[in-house]
Symmetry: C2
Subunit: 340 residues, 2 copies
């Protein structure tokens, strides 16, 4: 039987069990327990390999907390998401909070389903990446008093916490870096503009181009690039056009990899400049090294999870959007000058 060995313990020891030893290994620091009683309970706990049922407890507990968090990331197999997940796990572990992780896949329907699944499991809080500008479930969640912290993308909804990269500023810096090397005919390879961060990066690109006084006719913007293959195909088209760009700004790590393949296939990796948004592994080992605007996913995760626990501990300060700075890492590809 599944819960076989558990019931007898309770039968005999009743509430004593949980007043004494329940949490992890240590004694529940419940005061006013006689050493003899504690020992008796502990013997039983060990003899039966008793593990308290946290779920049952949350049902009756005053705060109703399940010591559980729902995390929705772009995809659990994306390295950017992985780093965020890891730091959230680490901070949660210290507080004996477990985390449910799900992948968004930039699918609003999947997002709704994931949030509903979290809610049915009574998570204490939600750390979410959203595919929507104005998530529809927000009202329902707020009414329930469950804190939400958005990561990676800032929803348009007012009054929610969000932690994201300074996408606009980072894209501006990347573009400015290329302009400073003398480029004017610069192509932006962007993800779907539905995605808030993709749009912010596009805006940053336009900021820099405008500030430099470069006419929009020189800026080629390709959007709706969601995977490596699409990016590769798009850049291949541009390179084979009658008036190819002298520099490329790729708006996302998969796009960067696709762009690298396209440049390599045309033997142009030392001719056409490239700056990518978000770092890619082994970027320093390819030739030339890939210049990127690196994000700081560890910091995004850390700030988000700390905000979450602050909210859970009663912080009622006004919700804020926190922007984590990006860092331009020059490795070679972004320093290639335009042809003389």
């Amino acid at each position: 039987m599944r819960t076989g060995p558990v019931r007898p313990l309770r039968r005999r020891l009743r509430s004593r069990t949980c007043r004494v030893g329940c949490g992890s290994q240590e004694v529940n620091d419940e005061p006013n327990v006689a050493p003899a009683t504690a020992a008796r309970v502990w013997d039983a706990v060990r003899a039966l390999d008793y593990h308290i049922d946290l779920q049952a407890g949350s049902l009756r507990r005053t705060d109703g907390r399940t010591r559980t968090l729902g995390l929705l990331v772009g995809s659990v197999d994306n390295p950017f998401s992985g780093v965020i997940h890891r730091v959230i796990e680490e901070v949660s572990l210290r507080r004996e909070v477990a985390v449910f992780a799900s992948s968004l896949d930039d699918d609003p329907e999947r997002e709704e389903r994931a949030v509903a699944a979290f809610l049915r499991r009574r998570v204490d809080g939600l750390i979410l990446t959203t595919a929507q500008r104005r998530p529809g479930y927000l009202g329902a969640i707020e009414g329930r008093g469950i804190p939400v912290v958005y990561i990676d993308r800032e929803p348009a909804a007012v009054g929610v916490d969000a932690v994201a990269s300074d996408n606009r500023g980072g894209a501006d810096a990347a573009t400015t870096h290329l302009i400073a090397r003398g480029h004017r005919r610069i192509a932006l390879l962007a993800d779907r503009l539905e995605i808030q961060s993709a749009q912010a990066r596009r805006d940053g690109f336009l900021d820099a181009m405008g500030r430099a006084g470069i006419p929009t006719s020189l800026a080629t913007i390709v959007t709706e690039l969601h995977d490596e293959a699409a990016a590769r195909a798009a850049l291949t088209d541009l390179l084979e056009s009658h008036d190819p760009p002298t520099a490329v700004f790729s708006g996302q790590n998969l796009i960067t990899v696709g762009a690298l393949h396209a440049l390599r296939a045309h033997g142009l990796q030392h001719t056409v400049a490239l700056v990518g948004f978000d770092d890619v592994p082994l970027a320093d080992l390819v030739d030339p090294g890939v210049t990127v605007v690196a994000q700081d996913p560890h910091e995004i995760g850390r700030v988000a999870v700390e905000r979450m626990f602050a909210r859970l501990e009663g912080d009622a300060s006004p919700p804020r959007h926190l922007l984590i700075p990006t860092t331009l890492i020059a490795r070679g590809s972004g320093e290639i000058p335009p042809p003389a």
Copy 2:
């Protein structure tokens, strides 16, 4: 109030609520409900944005299931783990099962804590990577009737399901590949031998060397390499020794990256051959391309999660260790011949 809007619904509709509409969006296919009653309940459900409490339900449900799985991977920010996690999530999603994910970090104490945390949350099953040859908690779990499937590493314990790469065979193939190019002085850079998969790869390396009749004096084996920095330092030492290897077999993806850095720093990337175990991103874009023995984490995850659900559905066939084949991908670095 947290559960504020939920109680009134129950107060009025009692058990009707859950006989009619609870699961996800669809009507619980409970038969024998009058359309009028169902409509009444559905109105209330929608009006209150009611979400059933799955946890509370599992408490009373006959099978006691929480529709929850515990997943312990090497680290949620490791790409190999990420792919496994993703396919497990995908299959679980279809069955409306949520997954708790944790990172092992090759720390036995962390492993014990993670398993205990899963148990306290009454997960239905455990998919585990282990840092131990003989996990101590196994007896306790078996008594509870919770299925366990090990991934990535095979514990020595008998009678448990496990799904892992054919580590020994893959390492043999990698080493044989180097020997076939004429190498005899081959270095193995290995992880901690405590880790079962690292040991299996070492055994495969020795299999191939032995079969080729290469004296062990020509095989340099460095073990206990757990991160990129250690691997880089170890290979640097070897390259600067009086009798450096002509080829390197790196036993793990972080070691491969460390080895690439060491070779590059010595300008030997076109001189010393390298084959890595486990694929690395952008391996085809560095020069030379990195020859690897690729694992199939997607298949490992798929087989593991399918075995898990089979067990949960009552499959009582004898536990098995399933080995997923590896694939040698020749990209250049492994085809460099020894100096004439």
